[in-house]
Protein backbone atom coordinates (compact mmCIF):
# COMPACT_ATOMS: atom_id res chain seq x y z
CA UNK A 1 0.00 0.00 0.00
CA UNK A 2 1.23 3.54 -0.78
CA UNK A 3 2.44 5.81 2.05
CA UNK A 4 0.86 9.23 2.68
CA UNK A 5 3.60 10.81 0.59
CA UNK A 6 2.78 8.71 -2.44
CA UNK A 7 -0.92 9.56 -2.85
CA UNK A 8 -1.86 12.38 -5.24
CA UNK A 9 -2.81 15.62 -3.44
CA UNK A 10 -6.27 15.37 -1.76
CA UNK A 11 -6.66 11.80 -3.09
CA UNK A 12 -7.54 13.09 -6.54
CA UNK A 13 -7.92 10.35 -9.15
CA UNK A 14 -6.55 10.84 -12.62
CA UNK A 15 -7.81 7.60 -14.14
CA UNK A 16 -11.38 8.02 -15.44
CA UNK A 17 -13.89 5.36 -14.41
CA UNK A 18 -11.62 3.79 -11.79
CA UNK A 19 -14.66 3.00 -9.62
CA UNK A 20 -15.55 0.17 -12.03
CA UNK A 21 -12.80 -1.79 -10.31
CA UNK A 22 -14.42 -1.32 -6.88
CA UNK A 23 -16.62 -4.23 -5.80
CA UNK A 24 -19.64 -2.43 -4.35
CA UNK A 25 -21.87 -5.44 -4.97
CA UNK A 26 -20.83 -7.09 -1.73
CA UNK A 27 -22.98 -4.61 0.23
CA UNK A 28 -26.08 -6.26 -1.28
CA UNK A 29 -28.57 -8.27 0.79
CA UNK A 30 -31.07 -8.82 -2.05
CA UNK A 31 -30.52 -9.32 -5.78
CA UNK A 32 -32.88 -8.54 -8.66
CA UNK A 33 -34.18 -11.56 -10.59
CA UNK A 34 -35.79 -11.10 -14.05
CA UNK A 35 -38.65 -13.17 -15.50
CA UNK A 36 -37.98 -13.26 -19.25
CA UNK A 37 -41.60 -14.25 -19.94
CA UNK A 38 -42.88 -10.97 -18.47
CA UNK A 39 -40.02 -8.67 -19.59
CA UNK A 40 -40.66 -6.66 -22.78
CA UNK A 41 -37.15 -5.19 -22.87
CA UNK A 42 -38.45 -1.62 -22.41
CA UNK A 43 -35.30 -0.57 -20.53
CA UNK A 44 -37.01 1.34 -17.72
CA UNK A 45 -34.88 -0.62 -15.20
CA UNK A 46 -31.74 0.48 -17.04
CA UNK A 47 -32.89 4.12 -16.99
CA UNK A 48 -33.64 4.10 -13.26
CA UNK A 49 -30.64 2.10 -12.00
CA UNK A 50 -28.68 4.65 -9.87
CA UNK A 51 -25.49 2.62 -10.09
CA UNK A 52 -25.36 1.94 -13.84
CA UNK A 53 -25.31 -1.72 -12.88
CA UNK A 54 -27.50 -2.91 -15.77
CA UNK A 55 -26.33 -3.63 -19.28
CA UNK A 56 -28.03 -4.99 -22.39
CA UNK A 57 -27.12 -8.51 -23.48
CA UNK A 58 -27.12 -9.90 -27.05
CA UNK A 59 -30.81 -10.82 -26.80
CA UNK A 60 -31.83 -7.30 -25.75
CA UNK A 61 -32.52 -8.15 -22.08
CA UNK A 62 -31.01 -5.99 -19.35
CA UNK A 63 -28.63 -8.06 -17.26
CA UNK A 64 -27.48 -7.16 -13.75
CA UNK A 65 -23.80 -6.46 -13.10
CA UNK A 66 -23.66 -8.12 -9.68
CA UNK A 67 -20.19 -6.67 -9.02
CA UNK A 68 -21.78 -3.22 -8.72
CA UNK A 69 -25.50 -3.82 -7.98
CA UNK A 70 -26.20 -2.81 -4.35
CA UNK A 71 -29.62 -4.44 -4.34
CA UNK A 72 -31.59 -1.21 -3.84
CA UNK A 73 -34.64 -2.68 -5.65
CA UNK A 74 -35.43 0.44 -7.69
CA UNK A 75 -35.47 -1.64 -10.90
CA UNK A 76 -38.06 -4.02 -9.41
CA UNK A 77 -40.16 -1.13 -8.14
CA UNK A 78 -40.14 0.74 -11.48
CA UNK A 79 -40.70 -2.22 -13.78
CA UNK A 80 -44.17 -1.78 -15.37
CA UNK A 81 -44.49 -5.50 -16.14
CA UNK A 82 -43.55 -6.71 -12.65
CA UNK A 83 -40.87 -8.74 -14.39
CA UNK A 84 -38.24 -8.15 -11.68
CA UNK A 85 -38.46 -9.49 -8.14
CA UNK A 86 -35.88 -9.10 -5.36
CA UNK A 87 -34.60 -12.35 -3.91
CA UNK A 88 -32.56 -12.69 -0.74
CA UNK A 89 -28.85 -13.35 -1.08
CA UNK A 90 -28.41 -16.71 0.52
CA UNK A 91 -24.62 -17.12 0.54
Amino acid sequence: MPTWKEYPIAATIHEPGSATGQNTGDWRSERPQRDNEKCDKCGICWIFCPDAALFMNEDGFYEVDLYHCKGCGICARECGKEAIIMVEESE
Binding site: A10, T12, I13, P16
Partner: protein, 391 residues
Protein backbone atom coordinates in the same frame (compact mmCIF):
# COMPACT_ATOMS: atom_id res chain seq x y z
CA UNK B 1 5.61 52.68 -0.34
CA UNK B 2 2.03 53.81 -0.77
CA UNK B 3 0.32 57.03 0.22
CA UNK B 4 -1.00 57.25 3.81
CA UNK B 5 -4.79 57.55 3.83
CA UNK B 6 -7.70 57.12 6.21
CA UNK B 7 -9.82 54.11 5.32
CA UNK B 8 -12.38 51.84 6.95
CA UNK B 9 -10.61 48.54 7.66
CA UNK B 10 -13.27 46.46 5.84
CA UNK B 11 -12.63 48.50 2.72
CA UNK B 12 -8.87 48.07 3.13
CA UNK B 13 -9.43 44.31 3.02
CA UNK B 14 -11.49 44.76 -0.18
CA UNK B 15 -8.67 46.85 -1.66
CA UNK B 16 -6.17 44.07 -0.89
CA UNK B 17 -8.45 41.53 -2.56
CA UNK B 18 -8.74 43.76 -5.62
CA UNK B 19 -4.98 44.26 -5.77
CA UNK B 20 -4.58 40.48 -5.59
CA UNK B 21 -6.61 40.35 -8.83
CA UNK B 22 -9.01 37.67 -7.63
CA UNK B 23 -10.88 35.77 -10.32
CA UNK B 24 -13.94 34.88 -8.29
CA UNK B 25 -15.83 36.07 -5.22
CA UNK B 26 -18.82 34.16 -3.84
CA UNK B 27 -20.25 35.62 -0.68
CA UNK B 28 -23.38 36.28 1.32
CA UNK B 29 -23.49 39.52 3.27
CA UNK B 30 -23.60 39.26 7.06
CA UNK B 31 -22.79 41.79 9.76
CA UNK B 32 -20.04 42.82 10.49
CA UNK B 33 -18.42 41.52 7.30
CA UNK B 34 -20.91 43.14 4.89
CA UNK B 35 -18.79 46.13 3.87
CA UNK B 36 -16.03 43.89 2.55
CA UNK B 37 -18.18 42.05 0.02
CA UNK B 38 -20.39 45.06 -0.74
CA UNK B 39 -17.27 46.94 -1.78
CA UNK B 40 -16.06 44.02 -3.90
CA UNK B 41 -19.48 43.75 -5.59
CA UNK B 42 -19.26 47.47 -6.35
CA UNK B 43 -15.76 47.11 -7.78
CA UNK B 44 -16.93 44.31 -10.08
CA UNK B 45 -20.05 46.26 -11.12
CA UNK B 46 -17.94 49.35 -11.86
CA UNK B 47 -15.49 47.35 -13.95
CA UNK B 48 -12.59 48.07 -11.58
CA UNK B 49 -12.18 44.40 -10.75
CA UNK B 50 -12.33 41.76 -13.46
CA UNK B 51 -13.83 38.92 -11.42
CA UNK B 52 -16.91 36.76 -11.26
CA UNK B 53 -19.09 37.91 -8.38
CA UNK B 54 -21.34 34.98 -7.59
CA UNK B 55 -24.49 35.86 -5.68
CA UNK B 56 -25.66 32.96 -3.56
CA UNK B 57 -28.57 32.22 -1.24
CA UNK B 58 -26.55 31.27 1.83
CA UNK B 59 -23.05 30.92 3.24
CA UNK B 60 -23.21 27.17 2.71
CA UNK B 61 -23.67 27.93 -0.98
CA UNK B 62 -21.01 30.66 -0.86
CA UNK B 63 -18.35 28.24 0.36
CA UNK B 64 -19.61 25.56 -2.05
CA UNK B 65 -19.27 27.99 -4.96
CA UNK B 66 -15.79 28.96 -3.72
CA UNK B 67 -14.80 25.28 -3.75
CA UNK B 68 -15.99 25.08 -7.35
CA UNK B 69 -14.16 28.17 -8.55
CA UNK B 70 -10.97 27.24 -6.71
CA UNK B 71 -11.15 23.70 -8.13
CA UNK B 72 -11.05 25.05 -11.69
CA UNK B 73 -8.02 27.15 -10.83
CA UNK B 74 -9.57 30.54 -10.06
CA UNK B 75 -8.07 32.76 -7.37
CA UNK B 76 -11.02 32.83 -4.96
CA UNK B 77 -12.08 35.03 -2.06
CA UNK B 78 -14.99 35.16 0.33
CA UNK B 79 -15.81 36.77 3.65
CA UNK B 80 -18.20 35.96 6.45
CA UNK B 81 -18.85 36.09 10.20
CA UNK B 82 -20.68 34.38 13.04
CA UNK B 83 -23.83 32.49 11.89
CA UNK B 84 -22.55 32.67 8.32
CA UNK B 85 -19.33 30.93 9.25
CA UNK B 86 -21.31 28.37 11.24
CA UNK B 87 -23.49 27.69 8.20
CA UNK B 88 -20.35 27.12 6.14
CA UNK B 89 -19.10 24.54 8.62
CA UNK B 90 -19.22 21.35 6.54
CA UNK B 91 -17.89 23.05 3.42
CA UNK B 92 -14.89 24.44 5.36
CA UNK B 93 -13.61 20.90 5.87
CA UNK B 94 -14.21 20.15 2.20
CA UNK B 95 -12.22 23.20 1.10
CA UNK B 96 -9.19 22.10 3.13
CA UNK B 97 -9.64 18.38 2.43
CA UNK B 98 -9.77 19.05 -1.30
CA UNK B 99 -6.75 21.35 -0.89
CA UNK B 100 -8.36 24.44 -2.41
CA UNK B 101 -6.44 27.66 -1.63
CA UNK B 102 -9.46 29.89 -0.97
CA UNK B 103 -8.81 33.07 1.03
CA UNK B 104 -11.51 34.13 3.50
CA UNK B 105 -11.82 37.16 5.74
CA UNK B 106 -13.82 36.76 8.93
CA UNK B 107 -15.05 39.82 10.81
CA UNK B 108 -15.28 37.93 14.10
CA UNK B 109 -18.66 38.13 15.80
CA UNK B 110 -20.48 36.38 18.64
CA UNK B 111 -22.74 33.40 17.99
CA UNK B 112 -26.44 33.25 18.78
CA UNK B 113 -28.30 32.62 21.15
CA UNK B 114 -28.93 35.15 22.52
CA UNK B 115 -28.67 36.90 19.19
CA UNK B 116 -25.69 39.23 19.07
CA UNK B 117 -24.39 41.11 16.08
CA UNK B 118 -21.40 42.33 18.13
CA UNK B 119 -17.84 41.21 18.21
CA UNK B 120 -16.07 38.35 19.90
CA UNK B 121 -14.09 35.37 18.63
CA UNK B 122 -16.53 32.50 19.31
CA UNK B 123 -17.27 32.06 15.61
CA UNK B 124 -13.76 31.16 14.48
CA UNK B 125 -12.84 29.34 17.70
CA UNK B 126 -15.66 26.90 16.97
CA UNK B 127 -13.91 26.27 13.61
CA UNK B 128 -10.46 25.68 15.06
CA UNK B 129 -10.01 22.24 13.55
CA UNK B 130 -11.09 22.88 9.95
CA UNK B 131 -7.55 22.53 8.58
CA UNK B 132 -7.19 26.09 7.30
CA UNK B 133 -4.21 28.38 7.89
CA UNK B 134 -5.58 30.98 10.34
CA UNK B 135 -4.22 34.34 11.44
CA UNK B 136 -5.47 37.42 13.30
CA UNK B 137 -4.84 41.08 12.54
CA UNK B 138 -4.66 43.81 15.16
CA UNK B 139 -4.73 46.91 12.97
CA UNK B 140 -6.10 48.08 9.63
CA UNK B 141 -2.66 48.10 8.07
CA UNK B 142 -2.13 44.56 9.25
CA UNK B 143 -5.52 43.48 7.89
CA UNK B 144 -4.58 44.86 4.47
CA UNK B 145 -1.08 43.38 4.50
CA UNK B 146 -2.05 39.96 5.82
CA UNK B 147 -4.90 39.64 3.31
CA UNK B 148 -2.35 40.04 0.52
CA UNK B 149 -0.03 37.56 2.25
CA UNK B 150 -2.86 35.02 2.60
CA UNK B 151 -3.05 34.55 -1.17
CA UNK B 152 0.68 33.94 -1.45
CA UNK B 153 0.66 31.48 1.47
CA UNK B 154 -2.46 29.58 0.40
CA UNK B 155 -1.33 29.15 -3.20
CA UNK B 156 2.26 28.16 -2.50
CA UNK B 157 2.77 24.70 -4.06
CA UNK B 158 4.13 23.49 -0.69
CA UNK B 159 0.90 24.54 1.06
CA UNK B 160 -2.22 24.54 -1.18
CA UNK B 161 -4.58 25.12 1.71
CA UNK B 162 -7.36 27.61 2.33
CA UNK B 163 -6.43 30.52 4.57
CA UNK B 164 -8.33 32.79 6.96
CA UNK B 165 -7.58 36.37 7.90
CA UNK B 166 -9.50 37.25 11.09
CA UNK B 167 -10.37 40.82 11.94
CA UNK B 168 -12.37 41.63 15.07
CA UNK B 169 -15.91 42.61 14.17
CA UNK B 170 -16.61 46.36 14.60
CA UNK B 171 -13.58 47.12 16.83
CA UNK B 172 -11.45 46.51 13.75
CA UNK B 173 -13.76 45.95 10.77
CA UNK B 174 -15.70 49.19 11.16
CA UNK B 175 -13.07 51.66 12.30
CA UNK B 176 -11.33 54.13 10.04
CA UNK B 177 -7.59 53.84 10.42
CA UNK B 178 -4.61 55.52 8.82
CA UNK B 179 -2.91 53.05 6.50
CA UNK B 180 -0.89 52.73 3.34
CA UNK B 181 -2.25 50.92 0.32
CA UNK B 182 0.20 49.55 -2.19
CA UNK B 183 0.25 50.10 -5.97
CA UNK B 184 -1.04 47.52 -8.42
CA UNK B 185 2.39 47.46 -10.03
CA UNK B 186 4.15 46.55 -6.77
CA UNK B 187 1.57 43.94 -5.80
CA UNK B 188 1.77 42.36 -9.27
CA UNK B 189 5.54 42.15 -8.96
CA UNK B 190 5.26 40.45 -5.57
CA UNK B 191 2.19 38.22 -6.00
CA UNK B 192 2.43 36.04 -9.10
CA UNK B 193 -0.56 34.76 -11.05
CA UNK B 194 -2.01 31.69 -9.37
CA UNK B 195 -0.81 28.44 -10.94
CA UNK B 196 -2.95 25.60 -9.57
CA UNK B 197 -1.26 22.34 -8.54
CA UNK B 198 -4.35 20.28 -9.30
CA UNK B 199 -7.23 21.49 -11.41
CA UNK B 200 -10.56 20.30 -12.79
CA UNK B 201 -10.13 20.28 -16.55
CA UNK B 202 -12.41 18.52 -19.06
CA UNK B 203 -9.38 17.89 -21.27
CA UNK B 204 -7.71 15.93 -18.45
CA UNK B 205 -10.47 14.21 -16.48
CA UNK B 206 -9.83 14.17 -12.73
CA UNK B 207 -11.98 12.98 -9.84
CA UNK B 208 -11.94 15.57 -7.08
CA UNK B 209 -13.39 14.47 -3.77
CA UNK B 210 -13.59 10.68 -4.15
CA UNK B 211 -14.59 8.27 -1.40
CA UNK B 212 -11.73 7.62 1.02
CA UNK B 213 -11.99 4.03 2.09
CA UNK B 214 -10.53 3.05 5.49
CA UNK B 215 -7.37 1.85 3.70
CA UNK B 216 -6.45 5.38 2.52
CA UNK B 217 -8.36 7.91 4.68
CA UNK B 218 -5.66 8.01 7.38
CA UNK B 219 -2.91 8.60 4.80
CA UNK B 220 -4.82 11.47 3.17
CA UNK B 221 -5.43 13.06 6.60
CA UNK B 222 -1.73 12.75 7.40
CA UNK B 223 -0.91 14.36 4.05
CA UNK B 224 -3.25 17.25 4.88
CA UNK B 225 -1.83 17.80 8.37
CA UNK B 226 1.74 17.70 7.08
CA UNK B 227 0.78 20.42 4.58
CA UNK B 228 -0.65 22.58 7.39
CA UNK B 229 2.32 22.00 9.71
CA UNK B 230 4.65 22.61 6.75
CA UNK B 231 2.88 25.87 5.91
CA UNK B 232 4.61 27.39 8.94
CA UNK B 233 7.91 27.86 7.09
CA UNK B 234 6.07 29.24 4.08
CA UNK B 235 4.23 31.75 6.27
CA UNK B 236 7.61 32.97 7.61
CA UNK B 237 9.02 33.11 4.09
CA UNK B 238 6.05 35.05 2.71
CA UNK B 239 6.15 37.54 5.61
CA UNK B 240 9.90 38.02 5.05
CA UNK B 241 9.42 38.64 1.35
CA UNK B 242 6.56 41.03 2.18
CA UNK B 243 8.88 42.98 4.48
CA UNK B 244 11.55 43.13 1.78
CA UNK B 245 9.08 44.43 -0.78
CA UNK B 246 6.81 46.65 1.33
CA UNK B 247 8.84 47.35 4.48
CA UNK B 248 6.44 46.04 7.11
CA UNK B 249 7.48 43.02 9.19
CA UNK B 250 5.24 40.29 10.61
CA UNK B 251 6.02 37.40 12.92
CA UNK B 252 3.86 34.54 14.24
CA UNK B 253 4.15 35.92 17.79
CA UNK B 254 4.46 39.59 18.80
CA UNK B 255 6.08 40.42 22.15
CA UNK B 256 5.76 43.76 23.93
CA UNK B 257 7.82 44.56 27.04
CA UNK B 258 7.78 40.84 27.78
CA UNK B 259 11.51 40.03 28.06
CA UNK B 260 11.82 40.48 31.84
CA UNK B 261 8.10 40.30 32.61
CA UNK B 262 6.87 38.16 35.49
CA UNK B 263 3.26 38.23 34.35
CA UNK B 264 2.62 38.16 30.60
CA UNK B 265 -0.77 38.79 29.06
CA UNK B 266 -1.44 36.56 26.03
CA UNK B 267 -4.25 37.32 23.60
CA UNK B 268 -5.10 37.61 19.93
CA UNK B 269 -6.62 40.35 17.82
CA UNK B 270 -7.46 44.01 18.20
CA UNK B 271 -7.70 44.21 22.01
CA UNK B 272 -3.89 44.10 22.02
CA UNK B 273 -3.94 47.88 21.52
CA UNK B 274 -5.71 48.41 24.84
CA UNK B 275 -3.52 45.81 26.52
CA UNK B 276 -0.40 47.68 25.43
CA UNK B 277 -1.59 50.89 27.11
CA UNK B 278 -2.40 48.90 30.26
CA UNK B 279 1.08 47.31 30.19
CA UNK B 280 2.71 50.74 29.82
CA UNK B 281 0.81 52.10 32.83
CA UNK B 282 1.57 49.06 34.98
CA UNK B 283 5.25 49.30 33.99
CA UNK B 284 5.26 52.94 35.08
CA UNK B 285 3.90 51.74 38.42
CA UNK B 286 6.78 49.28 38.67
CA UNK B 287 4.91 46.09 37.84
CA UNK B 288 6.81 43.62 35.66
CA UNK B 289 4.05 43.03 33.14
CA UNK B 290 4.33 42.29 29.42
CA UNK B 291 2.18 41.32 26.46
CA UNK B 292 2.41 38.57 23.88
CA UNK B 293 -0.01 38.64 20.97
CA UNK B 294 -0.39 35.46 18.95
CA UNK B 295 -0.82 36.41 15.29
CA UNK B 296 -0.67 32.96 13.71
CA UNK B 297 -3.28 30.61 15.18
CA UNK B 298 -2.97 27.69 12.74
CA UNK B 299 -0.43 26.23 12.38
CA UNK B 300 0.09 27.01 16.08
CA UNK B 301 3.54 28.54 16.68
CA UNK B 302 4.62 26.14 19.47
CA UNK B 303 8.34 27.00 19.62
CA UNK B 304 7.80 30.77 19.42
CA UNK B 305 5.18 30.63 22.15
CA UNK B 306 7.48 28.60 24.40
CA UNK B 307 10.28 31.07 23.77
CA UNK B 308 8.08 34.11 24.34
CA UNK B 309 6.27 32.85 27.44
CA UNK B 310 8.35 30.04 28.95
CA UNK B 311 10.34 32.37 31.21
CA UNK B 312 7.41 34.12 32.88
CA UNK B 313 6.04 33.30 36.32
CA UNK B 314 2.49 33.46 35.05
CA UNK B 315 0.62 33.96 31.79
CA UNK B 316 -2.76 35.66 31.90
CA UNK B 317 -4.64 34.51 28.80
CA UNK B 318 -7.53 36.64 27.64
CA UNK B 319 -10.06 34.85 25.45
CA UNK B 320 -13.02 36.42 23.67
CA UNK B 321 -14.65 33.01 23.48
CA UNK B 322 -15.69 30.37 26.00
CA UNK B 323 -15.43 26.60 25.83
CA UNK B 324 -18.57 25.67 27.76
CA UNK B 325 -17.90 23.16 30.48
CA UNK B 326 -14.27 22.99 29.46
CA UNK B 327 -11.01 24.58 30.59
CA UNK B 328 -12.14 28.17 29.97
CA UNK B 329 -10.88 29.86 26.83
CA UNK B 330 -9.58 28.15 23.71
CA UNK B 331 -6.39 30.25 23.57
CA UNK B 332 -5.64 29.33 27.19
CA UNK B 333 -6.17 25.63 26.68
CA UNK B 334 -3.96 25.70 23.59
CA UNK B 335 -1.24 27.48 25.53
CA UNK B 336 -1.41 25.01 28.42
CA UNK B 337 -0.84 22.16 25.92
CA UNK B 338 2.00 24.10 24.36
CA UNK B 339 3.81 24.78 27.65
CA UNK B 340 3.16 21.42 29.29
CA UNK B 341 6.34 19.71 28.01
CA UNK B 342 8.55 22.41 29.60
CA UNK B 343 10.27 21.38 32.84
CA UNK B 344 9.82 24.81 34.38
CA UNK B 345 6.59 26.31 33.14
CA UNK B 346 4.56 29.39 34.00
CA UNK B 347 1.17 29.23 35.64
CA UNK B 348 -1.46 29.74 32.93
CA UNK B 349 -4.55 31.60 34.16
CA UNK B 350 -7.56 31.80 31.83
CA UNK B 351 -9.77 34.89 31.60
CA UNK B 352 -12.87 35.38 29.48
CA UNK B 353 -13.61 38.96 28.45
CA UNK B 354 -15.14 40.94 25.63
CA UNK B 355 -17.97 38.54 24.85
CA UNK B 356 -20.70 39.71 22.50
CA UNK B 357 -19.24 43.16 21.96
CA UNK B 358 -18.57 44.11 25.60
CA UNK B 359 -15.58 46.46 25.76
CA UNK B 360 -12.32 45.19 27.18
CA UNK B 361 -10.96 48.20 29.06
CA UNK B 362 -7.62 49.18 30.53
CA UNK B 363 -9.20 48.61 33.97
CA UNK B 364 -10.09 45.06 32.90
CA UNK B 365 -6.41 44.35 32.28
CA UNK B 366 -5.60 45.71 35.75
CA UNK B 367 -8.17 43.28 37.15
CA UNK B 368 -6.71 40.43 35.11
CA UNK B 369 -3.18 41.10 36.34
CA UNK B 370 -4.38 41.46 39.96
CA UNK B 371 -6.24 38.15 39.71
CA UNK B 372 -3.12 36.52 38.26
CA UNK B 373 -1.03 37.85 41.19
CA UNK B 374 -3.54 36.13 43.49
CA UNK B 375 -3.19 32.89 41.51
CA UNK B 376 0.60 33.13 41.94
CA UNK B 377 0.17 33.45 45.70
CA UNK B 378 -2.55 30.91 46.33
CA UNK B 379 -2.60 28.65 43.26
CA UNK B 380 -5.58 27.96 41.03
CA UNK B 381 -9.04 28.34 42.47
CA UNK B 382 -11.01 28.19 39.21
CA UNK B 383 -10.47 26.77 35.74
CA UNK B 384 -11.15 30.28 34.45
CA UNK B 385 -12.53 33.64 35.50
CA UNK B 386 -15.03 35.73 33.62
CA UNK B 387 -14.05 39.38 33.71
CA UNK B 388 -16.70 42.00 34.47
CA UNK B 389 -19.56 39.55 34.89
CA UNK B 390 -22.22 40.79 37.36
CA UNK B 391 -22.62 38.35 40.21
Amino acid sequence: MGERIGLEVSLAVSEAVKLARVDAVAAYPITPQTHIVEELAQMVADGELDAYYIMVESEHSAMSACCGTAAVGARTFTATASQGLALMHEMLFIASGLRLPIVMAIANRALSAPLSIWGDQSDVMAERDIGWVQMFAETGQEAFDLTLCCFKIAEDPRVILPTIINIDGFTLSHVVEPLELESQEDVDAWLPTYVPVHVLDPAKPTTVGPVGFPEIYTEIRKQQDMALIGSYDVVLEVWESFEKKFGRAYKPVESYRADDAEIIINLIGAIAGTARIAVDRMREEGKKVGLVRTRLWRPYPFEEMRKALGGAKAVAVVDRALSFGGPGGPIASELRSCLYPLDKKPVVASYIAGLGGRDVTIEDFYTIVAETEKVLETGYTDEYKMIGVRE
